[in-house]
């Protein structure tokens, strides 16, 4: 094995180095994008440092390319028949050769990806590298993407070892790996990602091991290798169906405006309302409310903070919506947000509020959450709750505990009680707002506390600056943003309709911006017609899932959630709730699944009969296809080598070339015809 590993490393080190260079360049490019604070598109997210989508995208794409290329280059040049013979005809088992290749590929892949990633980590961790908080755990998401890329390497091994058509099982295996990459990368907790990575890697490895020992053919693979190879191909079919569906819906959809397009309304910190237009989820244009281009000063740009981000709150409560949004945007995101003071960021680590200084990278614990409430740092006597563990939660500098609203002063590192309500249910929302746009020392901070009947705006001394009525139905316009003009001559509220209500009822409500004077009298109101987010479309991959039959789809989901529940992975409960409670989606999926089952069964029956398979094999395939639907049917076409059939010399009917006797006339193959010129001499 050592000799094989040595040979593979020596032979492929050039590809490993090339991969390292490509990966390094991609990361360096992504980093420059992230580090550019003047880049408008990045401003919302770049505070996430290593969790920035730009960096994660670069890691995902490049690791898949590096992994895939490495897998192919390790096998394909050696596959020419004499080269392959030279490799395999030696006194070691094929298994040893395979594991030797795999070990070398493993080292090369992780060498090529982890070294640049470690370098990026060191750069990101350097104080002052990025005006954003840094936590070592931010590297987890990137690490998981690198793990996910390794499945493409494994798929490339299978694909190159497989004897088949490129536009068949070879391609499907790669598509399967792409799907698996998504599955691994989009888990919301590291534990689950690693778990999926291990599961899928084992599946891919068994399939690859089967391919090398069986000359890339289906028959006579061992059962476990057959199952894993079929699963991998099935995943590829699901991915291809999904892509096809996406393409079709993209081409023929009457409503081409996706939920990530349109415009959203925001208020700058100096109180100016603006509209931000999005294209494919990326802010493309900033307009003032009268429709003219809004020109930022550089300072404003750097301080821009979108107040009314689309929360995509689905069917969750506002608190959960924040979690969901964070998790969707950046996995394992350490909840962090720019504080009003600029250089300090706060974060919830397990039960502790932590502060980060983005320039010095120093951290400080300022308080601890216990079951009895919030306790300032150093005052916690409950030894059970100094826990620090990776966690996520709603984060606010004005946390609400029971009927109390606290304020975390991130500048002075103190906490204080700012409001006590009669009933904890009375407090609906609390947030802070400051109109500071430069590094003023005298920071004006306003606390906006949404109560059942009114919205209170308090200042730092806890005195009420203004009390506003709920100007609009708060069931619909549940999210209220606030801003105050710098001279306190007027203030604005932005009332955003709940996307959940809009989505459920297929309604569309405007965003309303109201301008008040300091006495709370309404001066002006803008009804801003919201963009087509009235109905959040069902994600396309759910339709693709419909191509898999109910048994396959729901069986997989139930298993997944069963595992999640066993491992106490909380994030899974909510996702399940979304699928389970969305009856429209459920119904569509069931219809699609049933249709898929019926079509697949009929098609498979027709194909298998023509191929002349034996009855048990045919029954097994029909069962598999019924469970796995259209995707399974396509996989069935791609995976096995169907019997080769030629005319029987005896009865003229088609018979299998592998069988010794004709299945129709039961006669054996006739011996080659002798023409009288044969020369056979007995051996001495």
């Amino acid at each position: 094995m050592i000799a094989i590993i040595w040979k593979e490393l020596r032979e492929n080190i050039k590809w490993g180095l090339l991969g390292l260079a490509v990966f390094g360049i991609a990361l360096a490019y992504a980093w420059t994008k992230v580090a550019d604070m003047n880049n408008f598109t990045g401003i919302e997210r770049n505070y996430q440092s290593l969790l920035s989508p730009t960096i994660l995208l670069a890691i995902s794409l490049t690791s898949a390319i590096v992994g895939g290329a490495l897998g192919f280059l390790q096998i394909m040049p050696e596959q020419k028949r004499d080269r392959w013979a030279f490799l395999v005809h030696r006194p070691v088992s094929l298994e040893t050769i395979f594991w030797g290749k795999f070990a070398a590929g493993f080292l090369l892949y992780f060498g090529a990806t982890l070294l640049p990633f470690a370098a990026l980590y060191l750069v990101a961790a350097r104080p002052g590298a990025l005006p954003a908080p840094f936590d070592p755990r931010m590297a987890l998401a990137g690490f998981v993407d690198i793990l996910a890329g390794f499945t493409v390497y494994l798929a490339a091994l299978i694909s190159s070892l497989r004897t088949g058509r490129w536009l068949g099982s070879k391609l499907l295996v790669i598509a399967g790996a792409v799907l698996v990459m998504g599955v691994i990368s989009n888990r919301m907790e590291i534990l689950y990602s690693v778990l999926w990575f291990i599961c899928y890697s084992i599946i891919f490895l068994i399939a690859a091991r089967g391919m090398i020992s069986n000359q890339g053919l289906w028959n006579p693979l061992r059962k476990v290798a057959k199952i894993t190879f079929f699963v991998v191909t099935l995943l590829g079919c699901v991915q291809l169906l999904s892509w096809s569906l996406l393409l079709i819906t993209g081409l023929f959809s009457s409503n081409n405006v996706s939920f990530s397009n349109g415009s959203r309304y925001s208020i700058l910190k100096d109180g100016t309302p603006i509209a931000v237009e999005y294209k494919n989820g990326i802010p493309s244009k900033v307009l003032s409310l009268d429709g003219k281009d809004f020109l930022f000063t550089r300072e404003q740009m750097a301080r821009l903070r979108i107040q009314t981000l689309d929360r995509q709150n689905l069917d969750t409560s506002p608190e959960e919506a924040d979690n969901f949004s964070y998790r969707e945007i950046g996995r394992y995101v350490l909840p962090s947000s720019s504080s009003t003071e600029g250089q300090w960021y706060y974060s919830l680590l397990g039960r502790q509020f932590m502060l980060y200084n983005c320039y010095s990278k120093s951290t400080k614990c300022i308080g601890i959450l216990t079951p009895s409430g919030y306790v300032a740092a150093g005052e916690n006597s409950d030894s059970r709750f100094p826990n620090i563990y990776p966690g996520m939660g709603n984060i606010s500098s004005t946390p609400i505990f029971n009927n109390k609203v606290y304020y975390i002063d991130t500048l002075n590192l103190t906490t204080s009680l700012i409001y006590t309500a009669k009933d904890k249910n009375n407090i609906y929302q609390a947030s802070t707002f400051t109109p500071v746009i430069s590094d003023d020392l005298n920071i004006k901070i306003y606390f906006i506390i949404s109560l059942a009947k009114k919205i209170l705006v308090l200042d730092k001394k806890k005195t009420t600056v203004i009390a506003l009525p709920w100007a609009h139905d708060k069931k619909i316009w549940s999210n209220v943003g606030f801003s105050m003009m710098r001279d306190e001559s007027a203030c604005f509220t932005v009332s955003t309709p709940s996307s959940e209500i809009q989505s459920k009822n297929n309604w569309q409500f405007p965003i309303i911006i109201d301008k008040y004077n300091t006495q709370g009298q309404l001066l002006k109101s803008w009804n801003l017609k919201d963009q087509p987010e009235k109905s959040r479309p069902i994600p396309w991959h759910f339709y693709a899932a419909g191509a898999i039959t109910p048994i396959g789809w729901y069986g997989w989901q139930d298993f997944s959630y069963w595992v999640g529940a066993k491992l106490k992975i909380s994030s899974y409960q909510r996702m399940w709730a979304f699928t389970k409670t969305n009856w429209r989606l459920q119904l569509t999926l069931w219809k699609l699944s049933l249709l898929s089952s019926v079509i697949s069964f009929i098609a498979a029956f027709w194909v298998l009969r023509r191929k002349g398979l034996s009855a048990p094999t045919m029954a097994a395939w029909l069962l598999v296809v019924t469970i796995t639907g259209i995707a399974g049917f396509l996989a069935m076409l791609a995976v096995p080598e169907f019997p080769n059939r030629i005319s029987c010399p005896s009865c003229g009917k088609k018979r299998r070339v592998e069988a010794e006797e004709c299945e129709h006339c039961e006669k054996p193959w006739p011996l080659p015809v002798k023409d009288g010129t044969e020369i056979f001499a007995m051996k001495r």
Binding site: K7, H89, P91, P672, I679
Partner: protein
């Protein structure tokens, strides 16, 4: 030290008993799609023999060898190599089988020394003397990169790598393909060197029939996937007979000659090649005209045997006539 041995069949003066076969092939059949490349081929290769597998391009030689080496699966039939099923040759069996494929592949980035070191790490038995002797015979520098070797040198290196573990069975798939006569001779000499060991079996395919004639003690001829001959070289040559029939007047009808392979007719004579048969002599005697027997070497016999069958003609008189009337 390389010995050049003129005489063939130096491996073993007495061939082993029939049941002591290094290779046993039983009704081996291989289809590529609907095309049958090897059709119910059955063959036994006795231990200690030097066995030549002959046939035209596409006859099925390489396919058969690849199946024997477990690099390809048969559609039907089976084969045993050194008493192991060829489709599941364990490392112990592969250690006893040396296989040299026609491409003479080696890892070009390795030096010759590294090649030897790499290869030797897999074998329990590795004879460095053989390895170095063959390298010396081909005048190869161990510090040279394998990728910089000429085709003949590469063949020599491959042969050294194949022979150094002193395999019991040596399978060579057209080892001299593309080599110049000098390199071919060197390769042959090295190959003969290894056969001096007792009980060593060599199966090789080749298009170079002079080489086959020199070293093989038995040949099998595969034609269009079907085994057509399996006999000692002398028997094969002895069985293929060529006669020239000189005649006057009407050409004799030779189509009924038993074992007729092909004929070539010119103005006044017919050359016929037949497989020797008891009835052949009698049939020839009935033909009008003078009959002269022409002795055939292996190459001529082989070409006649696997070449296009049937009658060919070339009439000089017609050509002259056409020229005159033009």
């Amino acid at each position: 030290m390389i010995y050049f041995v003129e005489s063939k069949n130096i491996s073993n003066p007495t061939l082993p008993a029939m049941n002591e076969n290094a290779i046993e092939i039983n009704s081996l059949t291989r289809y590529f799609g609907t095309k049958c490349a090897v059709n119910q081929l059955s063959l036994q290769i006795p231990k200690g023999s030097i066995f030549g597998l002959l046939g035209r391009n596409g006859a099925g030689k390489t396919t058969t060898i690849r199946i024997l080496m477990g690099l390809m699966s048969p559609t039907r039939g089976s084969a045993r190599v050194l008493d192991y099923d060829c489709q599941s040759l364990p490392p112990e069996a592969r250690e006893r089988i040396g296989y040299l494929a026609e491409g003479h592949h080696i890892y070009g980035w390795m030096t010759l020394r590294e090649c030897g070191k790499f290869q030797s790490s897999f074998f329990r038995k590795w004879n460095s003397d053989i390895f170095h002797s063959i390298l010396n015979h081909f005048r190869l520098d161990e510090r040279a990169k394998a990728g910089n070797l000429s085709r003949g040198q590469r063949a020599g290196l491959c042969l050294a790598l194949t022979l150094a573990p002193e395999p019991e069975l040596l399978v060579l798939d057209d080892p001299a393909l593309g080599l110049d006569p000098v390199a071919r001779r060197s390769l042959l000499e090295s190959m003969l060197y290894v056969t001096r060991k007792d009980n060593r079996t060599i199966l090789f395919s080749s298009h170079l029939l002079s080489d086959v004639e020199r070293v093989a003690d038995r040949i099998a001829v595969v034609h269009q996937g079907v085994l057509r001959a399996d006999c000692p070289v002398e028997t094969f040559c002895d069985h293929i007979r060529q006669y020239v029939i000189r005649y006057n007047g009407t050409a004799p009808d030779i189509s009924t000659l038993p074992g007729l392979l092909h004929s070539f007719r010119t103005d006044k004579e017919i050359s016929v090649t037949c497989v020797k048969d008891d009835a052949l002599k009698a049939a020839l005697e009935k033909l009008p005209g003078e009959i002269i027997e022409v002795p055939l070497g292996l190459e001529d016999a082989f070409v006649s045997y696997v070449g296009e069958r049937g009658e060919k003609s070339f009439f000089l008189e017609n050509t002259k006539h056409q020229e005159a009337t033009r």
